[in-house]
Symmetry: C2
Subunit: 178 residues, 2 copies
């Protein structure tokens, strides 16, 4: 694998801009992947991430049962694969094969990393109090991986109905914000 371990203290900078993610699960011998935009950071370190996985999604049952997943961050080059993930269900097909994504074993969870994504975050579910009402899971990132060769990743940000904003220029301002 081309990715290297990434300090957990740097995870928030990967998710805070709001990129589309590919969430992977593994359950009953079957891996699956879905596109997801409804996520937020909830704590810096250890990094906590809140996310909504619809009860209609095949991944919901896997996440609920295994309490493990990987959040993978695709760059804009993967846009067609991201949309293909969103347009199919793991109920009926092997999405990795269909879409052309390569699953790799993770270190701390059963769900796979996606080789083509520039960063992957191995997560465990730590709080399900809002799961029944909102399909909302609180995840703790256990292990983060990043491709050191990908210096300025152009991420995808979903505007709805297949319209994506691609990450543009980065500006640096004299901020005291973390």
């Amino acid at each position: 694998m081309d990715k290297r371990s990434c300090p957990l203290s740097e995870v928030y900078g990967l998710l805070e801009p709001g990129p589309v993610l590919l969430l992977t699960t593994a359950h009953k011998g079957k891996s699956n992947v879905m596109a997801m935009s409804w996520h937020t950071m909830m704590e810096f370190e250890p990094p906590l991430v809140g996310c909504v996985v619809s009860g209609h999604d095949f991944s919901f049952a896997a996440l609920k049962a295994t309490r493990q997943c990987v959040l993978n961050i695709p760059t804009a080059e993967l846009k067609d694969k991201v949309v293909a993930c969103g347009n199919s269900s793991g109920r009926s097909v092997d999405k990795f094969a269909l879409v052309g994504l390569t699953p790799l074993p993770a270190r701390t969870v059963g769900a796979p990393l996606i080789a083509e994504c520039y960063a992957s975050l191995e997560c465990r579910v730590i709080d399900t109090r809002l799961m029944n009402r909102y399909n909302f899971f609180v995840l703790e990132v256990q292990q983060a991986w990043i491709d050191p060769a990908c210096k300025n990743p152009r991420t995808l940000h979903h505007r709805g109905r297949g319209a994506f904003m691609v990450a543009g220029e980065t500006i640096k301002l004299p901020s005291k914000m973390k």
Copy 2:
């Protein structure tokens, strides 16, 4: 005001890309504004939004007490004002005056709209089950306003430590995703 009422069914498209927001509150006769990036959509309609407001922030007490706020979306042109909001506390100053933002009365909540932002979402807190543990609030958007003249807003997406990605080109793909 230049903004028009926006259908609640369109709110998710404003927040899903993950822009930096300016959250306003009003409590004990004092309005305040803070920059916020830790938010996620939780339901399409009525639109539900989850967000983290740190207990260190002056806005936390106001949000907890009044259960009302406005989420305002700034464009990249407001970047210096956004950073100025993040670099000061409403504890000691009137941030609207300091930063140069104009509060306007909202329709359904006591917190103000920000005239300079291209969209404003009037919200009420509907769930505080994760407030004590994570400073996490679930908001329901009651009323949405948008500036119809702002066709392709260039939003700000925080990468951490004052580095912002500016929304770039929008691409349209043949997606079945909502």
